[in-house]
């Protein structure tokens, strides 16, 4: 329940998809610019890289990766239903499968991204 509304899974799936999509968009705006700097101003790019490799940077990258993974899995679910309408029947099951894959793939990847923070 949020503000008295019952939040269904369909709505959550939509909300997460929209938030993750806009967040990745914002990163891509920054990212295409920073890779452009790698060509035009390598010194400045290398300074920025320090942030990517920092503990705080790694936490943000983990969140970015989580958003990307969720958006990709849920996007695939949408595409499957758009082009193969009978699958709409399995809408809910596919949504759960997305989360199983999200956790199974996401946790090990998050571990690898974050482990330099504690020096592993």
């Amino acid at each position: 329940m949020i503000n008295g509304y019952r939040i269904g899974e369909g709505m959550l799936a939509w909300l997460f998809h929209r938030i993750s999509g806009v967040a990745i968009w914002a990163f891509v705006v920054l990212h295409v610019f920073d890779i452009y700097l790698a060509g035009s101003n390598p010194g400045l790019y290398n300074d920025l890289l320090g942030f990517y490799a920092s503990p705080f940077g790694r936490i943000l990258e983990t969140l970015l990766g989580a958003g990307l993974l969720y958006h990709a899995l849920n996007g695939a679910r949408i595409i499957i239903m758009d082009f193969w309408p009978v699958m709409t029947r399995y809408n809910r099951i596919m949504w759960y499968i997305c989360w199983v894959i999200f956790v199974a793939v996401g946790l090990p990847v998050a571990y690898v991204i974050l482990k330099p923070i504690w020096g592993a």
């Binding site: 999509g21 295409v32 610019f33 060509g39």
Partner: protein, 130 residues
């Protein structure tokens, strides 16, 4: 009918540009499923970000034409998908003059990124792999 997939934009009826964009969102989405996820895994699992200096990009990553082509394709797919996706969001929450101004700013940003992103991947001098 199950034209409404509960999350994505419903398929526009009547064809035209809106329908083409709807299809392109799905096509670029599928391409990104492979390109964006593998890019993310490469720059985190294969090579740690701390190693990715400008020099590394030039002498290792972009000494290969395959990876330049891969990165440019990723750039094209992500720019279309992300900017047309945010366009849907802008249209959902704004109207009138604010909508036109935001869309104009959005398209301009997209064009600038298209130009600088293409420039760097295509014009950075090639250093053959040692």
């Amino acid at each position: 009918m199950s034209r409404y997939s509960r999350v994505g934009r419903p398929k526009p009826q009547g064809g035209g540009l809106e329908l083409a964009i709807w299809y392109m969102m799905r096509l670029t989405g599928l391409a990104l499923f492979v390109l964006a996820l593998s890019h993310f895994l490469i720059v985190h699992l294969v090579v740690d970000p701390s190693q990715q200096s400008a020099d590394w990009i030039q002498t290792v990553r972009w000494s290969s034409m395959f990876w330049r082509a891969f990165d440019w394709l990723l750039l094209m797919m992500v720019l279309f998908h992300a900017f047309m996706g945010v366009r849907t969001v802008v249209i959902d929450y704004t109207r009138g003059g604010a909508r036109s101004a935001l869309l104009m700013a959005l398209y301009l940003t997209g064009i600038v990124l298209f130009v600088i992103g293409t420039m760097v991947v295509m014009t950075m001098p090639v250093v053959p792999k040692a």
